[in-house]
Amino acid sequence: MGMSSPEALLICEHCDTVYRRRTLARGDVARCARCEAELERYHALSVNAMLALILTAMIVFVQANMWPIVTLGLSGQQSSTTLWGMILAMWREQAQVVSVLVAATLFFFPLLKMLLLGWLLWFARAGRRAPGFVRLMVILHYLGPWTMSEVFVLGALVAIVKAHTYFDVTPDPGIYAYAALTLLITVFAGVDLRQLWDDVPEETA
């Protein structure tokens, strides 16, 4: 068979089937004919739009971490907590493993992901590769499934319902910030970050 250049090819990462790359129209999703996995989708978000989303997410993330999440009341006493209150409480209560897990998946990894994306996209806007582009893109790939803010929102909801039986529960701004963050994450979930490899030319470094 006639060999086209490797750049014009696409390999399904779920079954190794080789395809010729097609130009996708708005809303198109290319699927593997063998295993039905998604190969590629039309990039609906421009670099500018992605950067705007990331900056918004950063602001919301700061709010979600600063503001208390929920307040409990019991016979006149009040008790509230932030994300870091949770992390410290688990550390104090001899559950350091859980403390580290929570800190990593809800704070450090999401923060790192946003900072890396912000940095890469800021330069990509000018059509340039950010300093450290290659290494940061690889880190971003491995960070993939380890950010869990959206799981936490559901967890907070469950905790509120459980606490509701015994306490007066008042949701605080932090929980709304988390809900907004989840929305932003959902919008961003459809973005294949690998497009940045092709979007930004290799020369500048």
Binding site: P6, D16, T17, A33, C35, T81, A95
Partner: protein
């Protein structure tokens, strides 16, 4: 060569990190990947190029078995203690679900049951099935098995739900003698189970599903 050529048949290899298609990889194209072409780095991102994830079967089995061993204390041991003036109540994962059901939120109880019980059990069964069938080179229900793997990847991390619930309640319920919540060892085992099952599903290479005797297409 079938209508849907695979990378190994064409002497091509895809970078697992950046997706770049690389050509002219030396070595036997039929080989599994372990040790073959391991000295070649992706020209774009520098990741070592491999036809298949290294030692996929061994690693996935090891992580899955380790996860299963930890899953036993995660369920048997209590994950959380609720102490009030005249009452100390230790909750396991399943008793927490039952209590949530009784306390008037069956919908949420179903969600927690799904995240904490159904998803981990599904992961053990699904990955176990995928490992056994792929190691035998079975051509059985390949498309469905590929979909099952993607489902496991997609929902895996939602199991962390209960860990976050315990952490939030521990930080919140601090009314000295009146009411206190403490984490108990079960939650540590459960958190580790979730991490290990995530690592297990990442170690499994879905391309192995299609590598057996060519009975498909």
């Amino acid at each position: 060569m079938s209508a849907l050529p695979r990378a190994s048949e064409l002497g091509l290899i895809a970078c697992t990190v950046c997706g770049l298609v690389c050509r002219n990889v030396p070595g036997d194209p039929r080989l599994d990947g372990d040790g073959v072409g391991d000295d070649m780095a992706c020209p774009r991102c520098g990741t070592t190029l491999r036809r298949r994830k290294p030692n996929s079967y061994v690693r996935t089995w090891a992580l899955l078995i380790a996860a299963f061993i930890l899953y036993i204390p995660a369920n048997v041991l209590p994950i959380m203690r609720t102490a009030s003036l005249n009452d100390v109540d230790d909750n396991t994962i399943i008793s927490g679900v039952v209590e949530l059901w009784r306390a008037g939120s069956p919908n949420l109880a179903v969600i927690v049951f799904t995240a904490s019980i159904v998803v981990p059990v599904l992961k053990f069964l699904a990955l176990g099935t995928l490992l056994v069938s792929s190691q035998r080179g079975s051509g059985w229900a390949r498309v469905q098995r590929a979909k099952l793997y993607r489902l496991v990847e997609l929902i895996g991390y939602w199991s962390m739900l209960d860990v976050f619930v315990v952490a939030l309640l521990t930080a919140l319920v601090r009314f000295s003698v009146l009411s206190l919540v403490e984490p108990l060892p079960g939650v540590i085992f459960f958190g580790l189970t979730v991490v290990l099952t995530m690592l297990a599903s990442m170690s499994f290479d879905p391309r192995l599903i299609w590598d057996g005797k060519d009975t498909d297409d």
